[in-house]
Subunit: 227 residues, 2 copies
DNA sequence: CAGTGGTCTAGACCACGCC
DNA sequence: GCGTGGTCTAGACCACTGC
């Protein structure tokens, strides 16, 4: 047999896909499966826990383990640096700072970061290019309190500077689609109204708001994943 | 102390965020941390393994555990049924089958599924509505071999039928943005060229191709997640 | 209350991959 | 080779929750 937890996981998945165990069914307890497969309960636990994290199983103490009825499939997205993403496609990366000024952010941005309406923030607009063609337009608001020293954003993108200096932040991400405004179309060298893939991200360092950024990707951009 | 693996995980994250351990640094071994925290090595292992899965740490046998240098942040997306997603927003869900016919799929679809060029597949076009307004246009190609019995797709959406009858498939997902074609705009009751959020999904049941679907979401649709 | 999963322990062996 | 993480075991106690 020589069963490791990955074998157990595979066998459980096989039984589900083969309709031995159907959505809504309660499957045997960890103890029963451990006995059947001839392994320790911890090994079965590991396998079932992974399947539960993927949304395939639902587990509750005392109630037991069931095959999920409405399998909310969970996919993991990798969110790389723009530079690495472009280089990963085999294209040459370059970067251009378009503007940099202190200003009052739009109310929506201030609200998302939990800052007062009138607060001054550093507003950066920059362009990421792939093989010298515009690929991503970045519109970023930075909380100046997180900038002990102010780097030269002509030389290093805010993205990379933050990663090196305020690493491992938390935050939320939202994905959507939007038609390019006249300005965006001009800067990205696209027809007005082109469909852009938008990544909005708000970032916190523990309880301190750090930045709020909108990345507008030119048509052709895709995010891929596997389930 | 009373440290569980979640406490260990939190403490390690705290040290990273506090710059005690910086990106690229090798952190102490599992054994050393187990000693420091007064827990078994398995407990430390669990904590560090979770952080590695999130992309915060990089682990290699013999080399040890390092704080990731280029933190590819990993976000998990929930991909629910269209119906549940709409109902989850508190809107009334309805569904309309627009067309259903056997036809030859576009070469790109056949290729993605690994089917011969001339193969006949079932082509479905349907509309998902939220509060009686178009929300998602679904364009689906189904491998007829997976349909032992052919359900009435006027009554049950292909999405739900597949979930109940060919559950727990594997596949890949791609997210992108596209301008609505004239047809799409008409069916979704939008101005032509509106930016649509596109989810393309190809699905397999073990080695058998099942379906290839394109879900076009009206503007305003967002996918959210947290890191 | 009693059954189930969630976690911890102490020890062990193994696989990988730097040196 | 040998240090490190990856996993397994057998046993234990606990937390939750359905009955």
């Amino acid at each position: 047999m020589l069963a490791g937890w990955e074998d157990i996981r595979a066998e459980v998945l096989r039984r589900i896909r083969a309709h031995d165990w159907r959505p809504g069914d309660t499957i045997p307890t960890e103890e029963a499966l451990a006995l059947e497969f001839g392994v320790a309960r911890a090994t079965v636990n590991r396998a079932l826990r992974e399947l539960a994290e993927e949304g395939v199983l639902e587990r509750r103490r005392k109630a037991g383990t069931r095959v999920a009825l409405h399998p909310v499939r969970r996919a993991t997205l990798d969110i790389p640096l723009t530079r690495l993403e472009i280089e990963g496609r085999g294209q040459a990366y370059s970067y251009r700072l378009l503007s940099e000024e202190m200003a009052s952010p739009p109310p929506a941005v201030a609200a998302r970061l939990g800052l007062p309406q009138g607060a001054q923030m550093l507003h950066l607009v920059c362009l990421h290019l792939a093989d010298d063609r515009p690929a991503v337009l970045e519109d970023r608001w930075l909380n100046p309190e997180t900038l002990k020293v102010q780097p030269d954003f002509h030389l290093v993108s805010a993205n990379e500077w933050l990663l090196a200096n305020v690493p491992y932040t938390t935050g939320d991400i939202s994905l959507s689609a939007a038609n390019a405004t006249a300005d965006e179309a001009r800067l990205l060298d696209l027809p007005p109204g082109s469909a852009l893939f938008i990544i909005d991200r708000t970032t916190w360092d523990r309880d301190h708001p750090v930045t709020c950024v909108r990345l507008a990707h030119v048509p052709g951009f895709r995010m891929r994943t596997t389930v």
